[in-house]
C-alpha cells in the first residue's frame, strides 16, 4: 500500500501545500509570481535565477512538497524516484531559444530545451539519484502516473516517489507534485485522490 504523504499544487497564482493555501498573488504575471514564490520559500539558491520558467515552477513545487521532509525513511537518494509529465514539453523555452539562436545561440538557454531538465534541477537540489522519467500527456493522467509510480514502489525500484505534473507555455502554467511513500500513512495513493488534491479550490472543495 502506498500513501500520498505530501502535495504541492501551483496554479492560478496560488500555492497550496498539503491542501493549504500558502501564497496568493492575484494579478501577477508568471515571472513575478515565480519570484514571489521563491521569496516565500526563503531559500538561498542563486541557481534559481538561471532556470527557465518550467524548471523554476517545478523547483518551487518541489520546495513546497519537501518542506516537511519525508514521512518515512530516512532514504538513500538512490531510492527516491522522480516521475513527471506535462503537455508542452519545453516548447516555452524552445520558442525563446529559437528567437535568439540566429544572433547568439546560448548554451545556458539551449540546455532548457528538454523537458526533463526540471527533473535534473529538482534532483540536484534534493540529492535525488533514483529512477527518473518524463512523459508527455495532453492533460495530467492520474491513472498512468499512479500505475507507473506504483510499479516503481511495488517492485522496490524506489522507496519514495515524487510524481506529478509541471507545465508552462507563456503565461499558462500549472504544477502538481505528490510525494508517495510506502512506509507511512496518509491518503491512499490513488488516481482519484491525486485529482481531488489538484482540484482543491478556495472553499476546500473539489
Amino acid at each position: 500500500m502506498e500513501y500520498i504523504t505530501a502535495s504541492c499544487v501551483i496554479r492560478d497564482r496560488e500555492i497550496r501545500q498539503n491542501g493549504q493555501l500558502v501564497l496568493r498573488q492575484p494579478g501577477a504575471g508568471l515571472a513575478d509570481f515565480l519570484l514571489a514564490a521563491y521569496q516565500h520559500f526563503g531559500a538561498a539558491y542563486p541557481k534559481f535565477y538561471k532556470m527557465d520558467p518550467l524548471s523554476k515552477l517545478g523547483w518551487l513545487a518541489a520546495e513546497g512538497l519537501l518542506a516537511g521532509g519525508f514521512a518515512g525513511g530516512p532514504y538513500d537518494g538512490a531510492d527516491i524516484a522522480v516521475v513527471l509529465s506535462n503537455a508542452h514539453s519545453s516548447l516555452d523555452t524552445d520558442y525563446r531559444y529559437f528567437s535568439t539562436m540566429s544572433d547568439i545561440a546560448s548554451p545556458a538557454l539551449f540546455v532548457y530545451t528538454l523537458p526533463n531538465i526540471v527533473i535534473g534541477e529538482i534532483s540536484i537540489r534534493h540529492k535525488l539519484k533514483g529512477e527518473n522519467a518524463f512523459f508527455i500527456f495532453d492533460a495530467f493522467d492520474p491513472v498512468f502516473t499512479r500505475d507507473y509510480a506504483g510499479e516503481l514502489l511495488d517492485r522496490m525500484r524506489a522507496r519514495a516517489c515524487i510524481c506529478g505534473w509541471v507545465d508552462v507555455l507563456a503565461e499558462e502554467y500549472s504544477a502538481a507534485l505528490f510525494l508517495v511513500e510506502r512506509e507511512a500513512a496518509g491518503p491512499a495513493f490513488t488516481a482519484d485522490n491525486m485529482t481531488a488534491i489538484m482540484n482543491l479550490t478556495n472553499n476546500g472543495n473539489a
Partner: protein, 390 residues
Amino acid sequence: MKDIFVVADNIYSPLGATTAENFAQLRRGIRGVRPQARAEIAEDPFYAALFDPGICAGNAAHTKFEQLLIASVGDTLATAGIDPADDRTILILSTTKGNIALLEEGEGNIALLEEGEGNIGLPENGEAGAARLTLGSSARLLARHFGFVNPPLVVSNACISGVLAILTGMRLIRSGRYDTAVVVGADTVTRFVFSGFASFQALSAGPCRPFDQARDGINLGEAAATVVLSAHRRYRGNLRIRGGAMTNDANHISGPSRTGEELAAAIARSLAEAGCRPSAIGHVSAHGTATQYNDEMEARAITLAGLQAVPVNSLKGYYGHTLGAAGLVESIVTLQTMREDLVLPSPGFETNGVSTPLHICTSPLHVPLDHCLKTASGFGGCNAAMVISK
C-alpha cells in the same frame, strides 16, 4: 517475472530502411557520418549522418519527422503480424524535439501547421505556434495512421529517451496492463539542434572518436527506429528485454557525474533485475558520445560495474548521435549483434583516452553472446541501462 520478447524491429536511417540493410552496411564498415554541406542547418560544412535532402519531399501531408516514424513503424507492423487495433497494444513514442523543424520551416509549412489541433502558439509567434509542434500531436497522428486504439504514450527524457521507452514498454507489459508494445523513436537534425550543440562547443570538427584520446565532441545524426515487444509465449526463443533501470546524477544539468557511480548504480540494478552477474555480460553497447566528459564518466561507470574487460563499442561513429532515436537504434543493433554473435568495431577509436581503460572493439569480434548491456546518459543528469538476453 514475465519474459518480454522482441517480436520485430526496424532501423530507418541514412544507412538503410530495415535492420537487415543497416547491419549489412555496418558489417562492411560503412558509416552514415559524412561531411555535409547543408546551408539550412549550418553555414559551414560539418560531419553528421543525414538523410539525403528531399528524401521526404514527395509527401506533402506529413513532415519529415512524421514520415520517418511512419516508415519505421510500418516496416515492423508488416513483419510482426500484430494488430494495432488490439486494445491490449500500446504505442510508445520516444523523441526529444519532434516536429521542431516546423519552427524553422515557418511559412513554407503553413499548410501543415494549420492542420494542428487548435493553436497553442504564443501571440508573438503567430502561425509558427501551431499544435502540430507538440510531441503529443505527433504521437496521435502516428497512432491514427496505423489504427492504434489506445492513446499513445510519449517519452521525452533527453538522450536516454529511447532506452527509457523500451523499458517503459517492458514494465507496462510486465504489470499486466498491455500484451504488446510498439516502441518507436525518432529525431531529425535541424538548425535548432545543431546551433545548440555548437553553442556548447560539443560538436567534433571531424568524424567523432568515442573513448579515444583525441576525441573532441559529437556528430549529430537522424534516424527512426522501432522495436515491438510482447510477452506472448509464441515468441519464445526470441531475444528478451530482461531488465533495466534509470538513475540521476544529481550533479549538473549539462555535465555528467564526476564519478560514474550513478550510471554504475543503474547498471547494477539492471543486472540484478535480469538475474545476471557482471561476468555473464558478453558485450556493452555504450552511449559513447565522444565528448570528453561523457566518455570519461561512462568508462568509470562501466569499470565500477565490473565490466571493464567486456568488449565495448559505441555506434556513434556510424549513426552520429540520433538523440531520441539513439537508444532504439543502438539497442536494435545490439539485438542484431546477438543474433549474429558479432560485435562491431567502434569507429574512431585508436588510443585509449579515458582514465579507466575499457576493452573497446577495434575489429569485428565473433563471440557467443547470451547477455548484453545497453547504456545511455543525457542532459539533466539522467542515466539508463538495460540487459538484453537470448
